[in-house]
């Protein structure tokens, strides 16, 4: 579904991504794990066109998206929930969700029903300004907003960041639920243990490179990973 072939991304003179290649197949949860600054978020940003690669190619649904304007991706079915949630803090919960359906406004009504079903807490707060929500609620809103665009592939950047353990569990359960409903997910996480538990496959990044890949189970049991990320 998504193929990233050999991309190299620079921030000025800093070589942030080095020959990164990965792929995501229909119906999978693929996790991208690694330490801070390894290049995980940069990879997602390059896929969604906010950064450009100097080499290689990115294809989504068999079409190249390397040079497409970022705002056109959602209508092709690629949604990105950025790091730090980035909900519109001065708009209401419902307005945020409506923005999610900006490219498919006829779907707004069913979309809202679906999102409010999944996240009942958002329904209670639908006329509240998003800035007044808790971190967990903002994460739900960010995910709900992305779902409003009817994506085929959902890219989640650190959905568990800064959340209480019970909420982290809730978010991961939600990701599994989305998968069973047919969604394909590319998940960036620092919480490697949780991510590997739910991922079909995973890639490990280290200073801009992919250094390991395999099924979630394989990586969870690999000694190198245990040592580096799972505390021995």
């Amino acid at each position: 579904m998504l193929q990233v072939n050999n991309i190299n991304v620079f921030y000025g003179k800093i070589h942030a991504l080095k020959d990164v290649s990965l792929n995501v197949n229909q119906g999978e949860i693929v996790a991208l794990i690694g330490a801070n600054g390894a290049g995980k978020s940069t990879t997602l940003k390059t896929i969604s066109g906010m950064l450009r690669s100097r080499t290689g190619d990115i294809t989504f649904m068999d079409e190249s998206i390397s040079h497409i304007d970022p705002y056109k991706l959602i209508s092709r079915g690629l949604a990105h929930v950025p790091e730090g949630r980035r909900v519109f803090l001065q708009m209401t919960v419902q307005e945020n969700l409506e923005m999610g359906a900006y490219t498919c406004k006829d779907h707004t009504k069913e979309g809202l029903e679906d999102v409010y079903n999944r996240f009942p807490r958002l329904l209670h707060r639908k006329n509240q300004i998003a800035g007044t929500l808790s971190g967990g609620e903002q994460q739900m809103l960010a995910m709900g907003r992305a779902l409003m665009g009817q994506p085929k592939l959902l890219m989640l950047d650190e959905p568990s960041m800064g959340l209480a353990p019970i909420l982290v569990q809730f978010i991961f359960d939600m990701i599994l639920e989305l998968k069973s409903a047919g969604a394909t997910i590319l998940l960036v996480e620092q919480n490697a243990e949780m991510a590997l538990k739910i991922a079909d496959r995973a890639y490990v990044m280290e200073s801009g490179r992919i250094v390991l890949s395999g099924t979630g189970e394989e990586l969870a049991n690999s000694d190198a990973i245990k040592k580096a990320y799972l505390g021995g």
């Binding site: 991706l73 959602i74 209508s75 950025p82 519109f88 001065q90 708009m91 923005m99 665009g149």
Partner: protein
């Protein structure tokens, strides 16, 4: 008492003009995060467009206003496309200097076409009767200015708060990257913003021309800078702020002219601005924006 009412009405009318122009500054600032110092000169172009279409081409006044609005909208969008869009990722100082350059360019082109002599603005509103209430007489053009500005402001507020495009504008103003992820084209949104701002400037130019009666190539500079002041006064980036700031500025200016001194009115206006900014640096209705890292 009559002097007070008269001064208040004149102040409101002048303030409405400032508010219309200030809206252009504040909307462009809110969405494109730039100060469009060529905005004042769009007023000048709008006024000349009325002169050319009504005085020279002998069009009826209403049609002249429509032509002026269309030309200003086109001008605003063209300026954005040619001068500012290529600088989207440039430093804000570069964009600011470019805006000043565009301002001089417009003034000089106007000078080439119309010369440096002032031109009379057609008397568009003379057919509207003067309203007399006791000893207070209210000119028709003043009533029209107040009424139309109120309608425009109400319409703009509804547009920003309740339409799909209006909401998209708010989304872009808050977070461009997130807005793009929603499928909102930031470029298109900025174009729409410039078009709206320029249409408001064209309307302001008609009222301004009608009350000052003469137009020259540098006409846009003073209302431009006053309206910018009004936008800062009300809190730049805030739409209700620009409305409030513009109207207050007009009233303060007119009151100073009536009760203190015509010569000192500008100094008093800017003095009040300084005072407001000292007490509330974000302006009257401005929000404090904390930079996220």
């Amino acid at each position: 008492m009559i002097t007070l009412i008269q001064a208040l009405l004149n102040g409101l009318s002048l303030g409405s003009i400032y508010a219309l122009i200030a809206l252009g500054y504040t909307m462009v600032y809110g969405i494109a995060k730039m100060l469009n110092f060529a905005h004042g000169d769009v007023i000048m172009v709008g006024a000349y467009a009325v002169i050319t279409s009504v005085v020279q081409a002998k069009m009826p006044g209403v049609l002249g206003v429509v032509v002026s609005i269309a030309i200003c909208a086109l001008l605003g969008v063209t300026i954005e496309f040619l001068a500012y869009r290529p600088l989207r990722k440039a430093a804000s100082l570069t964009v600011l200097i470019t805006a000043i350059g565009v301002s001089y360019l417009l003034q000089n082109v106007a000078q080439l076409i119309y010369g440096t002599e002032q031109k009379a603005f057609p008397e568009l509103f003379d057919s509207i009767p003067t309203l007399t209430l006791g000893e207070v007489s209210i000119e028709g053009s003043l009533l029209l200015t107040l009424g139309l500005t109120a309608v425009i402001m109400a319409a703009l507020t509804l547009f920003i708060n309740y339409t799909r495009v209006g909401k998209a504008m708010r989304a872009v103003s808050e977070d461009k990257e997130a807005a793009e992820l929603m499928g909102i084209s930031v470029n298109r949104t900025i174009t729409v913003t410039f078009a709206i701002g320029s249409v408001l400037a064209a309307v302001a130019s008609v009222f301004y021309g009608a009350s000052y009666t003469y137009i020259r190539p540098t006409t846009g500079a003073m209302p431009g800078i006053k309206a910018f002041t009004a936008a800062v006064f009300g809190g730049i980036g805030s739409i209700p702020g620009a409305m409030l700031g513009g109207i207050l500025l007009g009233v303060i200016e007119q009151m100073s002219k009536t009760y203190i001194s015509t010569k000192w009115s500008d100094a008093i206006v800017f003095g009040v601005l300084v005072l407001v900014l000292v007490i509330k640096p974000t302006g009257l209705l401005g929000k404090k924006i904390s930079e996220k890292v």
